[in-house]
Symmetry: C2
Subunit: 190 residues, 2 copies
DNA sequence: CTCGCTTACTTACAGGCTTTAAGTATTTGC
DNA sequence: GCAAATACTTAAAGCCTGTAAGTAAGCGAG
């Protein structure tokens, strides 16, 4: 009965990889245990329950994405920064669909504050520095940007754009152009 | 042993209502059967399996939303139409979170073509008639609009905007202003 | 009206997942 | 080298999905 060397970190990583392979919904404690050659009950020494595992994957994914976005953003400003950030976001989601799906579960505010959620918001605001928006326009713009990225990526990966011949890549590029346009010409409050 | 009068339609409606109450993820065949005072196995005379039930709820929700959007759109044009459509979309999602979640499952293209998916696309294009965009800009704009709506509503209902004091309603209104702005000033292709 | 067919629903069961409890083996640290 | 902590095991309860086979209810035809 040699020990399998299971830790919460390894479990989380394995769960994330499994999610990318078979879909986040299909990641079960049992399947994960199987991968480690261990009985399901063994995992409960390392994680609280199945939901705890899901949250850990979500936090991991948020951190990974924040790292990539930060790297993409380094040394860029204005539209350049906008495009780099957006592409980092979309590329991550496409490369890691399971991790991206994990990010969508509702995290309690405590965990989000501690996690990379804050970093994302800060980076988005950093991009907006190039557009000289003051509050509350800045917050509105942050929300619109995030909505556009998230919406586009979600719909694209769900196959929502696949029934029209127009190149999805091109539409994305034009959407970023449009976003840049509106940020430079943010409409005055009514 | 009186018959319970279960039909696929009633099941679908009950499942949708249940989803709005307890969340789409928590709708099970067993819970649904309980609501009808019937054994779980009885439902398999009316639905193929659990996935079939989910798809039915999704199609129902798509049709309901299309009806509301069409009603909101009637007699309007330009920004007026854009705002009415967007609000119908968001209001539906907020009033029926379970149904809205159901709409996000991947539907095979066959079912989507038959269902209300087509109507949605047509309505979005109808709105764009007021902005005089020609292809492929029109398709790009449709995709951006849909992404923005979907992204905003998803993030809002997931609590993603709740850690900032700015009124979510106001941000939404400004986002629609911004969308109108960019549609009127759609950037020329590079 | 009743016979017989179709359909709705039942019980029974197999198999999978989650989670707790209690026991056994292994490792760590003094 | 031994005690305490930790990793893992089996066992079991509870819930879910889905299939198979049986029973009862309704319906149409004679």
């Amino acid at each position: 009965m040699a020990r399998a060397g299971v830790t919460a970190e390894r479990l989380t990583r394995a769960a994330a990889d499994l999610a990318d392979e078979i879909g986040f919904q299909n990641v079960t404690v049992s399947a994960l245990a199987r991968g480690f050659g261990v009985r399901p009950a063994a995992l409960y020494s390392h994680i609280e329950d199945a939901q705890d595992l899901r949250v850990r994957v979500a936090v991991l994914a948020l951190a990974e994405l924040a790292d990539r976005a930060a790297a993409a953003l380094a040394g860029r400003a204005g539209k350049d920064a906008l495009v780099a950030f957006a592409n980092a976001y979309r590329d991550y989601a496409k490369a890691h669909p399971g991790r991206y799906a994990a990010m969508q579960i509702e995290l309690d505010s405590e965990r989000l504050a501690t996690s990379a959620g804050r970093r994302h918001a800060e980076m988005t605001r950093a991009i907006l520095r190039g557009y000289e928006l003051s509050e509350p326009d800045q917050t509105d713009a942050v929300r619109m940007m995030h909505s556009t990225f998230h919406g586009y990526v979600t719909l694209e990966t769900a196959g929502g754009f696949s029934r029209h011949p127009r190149d999805v890549e091109a539409s994305w590029s034009r959407t970023l152009d449009a976003l840049d346009t509106v940020l430079r010409n943010w409409p005055p409050a009514a």
